[in-house]
């Protein structure tokens, strides 16, 4: 009975690790593509050029954090297999810390993304105004 529940727990942990790895890969791919897009467009606008270094740095940190979450989950799983016991509180704190850090970073990415979108919307509006004025 205990062996059965351990097997279920093990399978659940394997799934969490797989998902953490996949999520880490997806965040990294998305972040790198965002940085590449910013690198391409920054020459066209001074505001984007001003924001881009901060944004790219943030993307780099988001990458690192996503990777750390996967590493922490893996380390936790390894530790769990080694001692076959309930994880020590320090490990739980480490996992919570990693998730808190991810949440904070993603919130920051969200705020900065909104700022970028606002700037892009303003730029589009200005350009369409210019085009309309030119057509008149």
């Amino acid at each position: 009975m205990i062996e059965e529940s351990e097997k279920v727990l093990h399978a659940q942990h394997e799934e969490i690790i797989r998902q953490a790895d996949y999520l880490s890969g997806e965040v990294k791919l998305l972040a790198i593509n965002l940085a590449v897009t910013l690198a391409r467009v920054q020459n066209h606008d001074p505001q984007i050029r001003q924001l881009e270094p901060e944004f790219t740095d943030l993307i780099r940190r988001a990458n690192d954090t996503a990777g750390q979450v996967a590493d922490v989950v893996k380390a936790f799983q390894h530790q769990k297999l080694m001692i076959s016991a309930i994880p020590a509180s320090s490990e739980v704190i480490a996992i919570r810390g990693a998730f808190d850090k991810t949440e904070a970073t993603l919130n920051y990415v969200y705020d900065l993304s909104r700022k970028m979108i606002e700037i892009l919307t303003q730029l589009k509006a200005k350009r369409s105004e210019g085009t309309n004025a030119g057509n008149r």
Binding site: L29, I32, N33, A35, A39, R49, R60
Partner: protein, 173 residues
């Protein structure tokens, strides 16, 4: 004549506006092939993709190992290892295809892993010696030294001619 940081950047990324305030900065997409770190100008990169819509081809042009079907079109995918005469590796979980612009066409390049987009000072760039260029079939003319890292900068314009001059089907070595 001494090469300046602006000259170095212009050599790597011809699209650079050398008169801009960040003219000496260069953004590189860094990736790994066979454990060696390479970089290419981020401004030339269009997209980085998982090889999910990659279709391998056999007996095709030298260096081209298949094609990638993206949203609206498809583009040939080259493997730098084939161009360098190194044995081809298998696709792993981290394998990505870097799609870049070259003379109005899209080309894909297989990378074992795309690591980051890096901003480097043009002053970190140095020209690779002629002997080293020969061993690399001149695909890179510059390298970037950063602490314990050495990034070879791919000259994307030198990759395409190899594809263009590639032997036709059935004439591969």
């Amino acid at each position: 004549m001494r090469e300046t940081a602006k000259d170095r950047q212009a050599a790597i990324n011809p699209a650079t506006n050398a008169s801009g305030p960040s003219a000496v900065d260069l953004q590189l997409v860094c990736f790994l092939i066979n454990g060696q770190e390479y970089g290419m100008a981020a401004s030339r990169v269009q997209e980085i993709m998982r090889p999910t819509r990659f279709y391998p081809t056999k007996g095709n042009s030298y260096g081209v190992i298949g094609s990638l079907h993206s949203k609206d079109n498809s583009c040939p995918v080259i493997d730098l290892r084939a161009l360098l005469g190194v044995e081809a590796g298998s696709f792993g979980e981290a394998t990505r295809i870097v799609v870049f612009e070259n003379r109005g066409r899209q080309l894909g390049l297989i990378a074992d892993e795309v690591t980051e987009v890096l901003r480097v000072d043009g002053a970190c760039m140095e020209i690779i010696g002629q002997d080293e260029q020969k061993t690399g079939d001149s695909f890179w003319t510059h390298q970037c030294r950063l602490d314990d890292r050495m990034i070879r900068i791919l000259d994307l314009d030198k990759i395409a001619p190899c594809y263009d001059k590639a032997p036709k089907k059935g004439t591969d070595k």
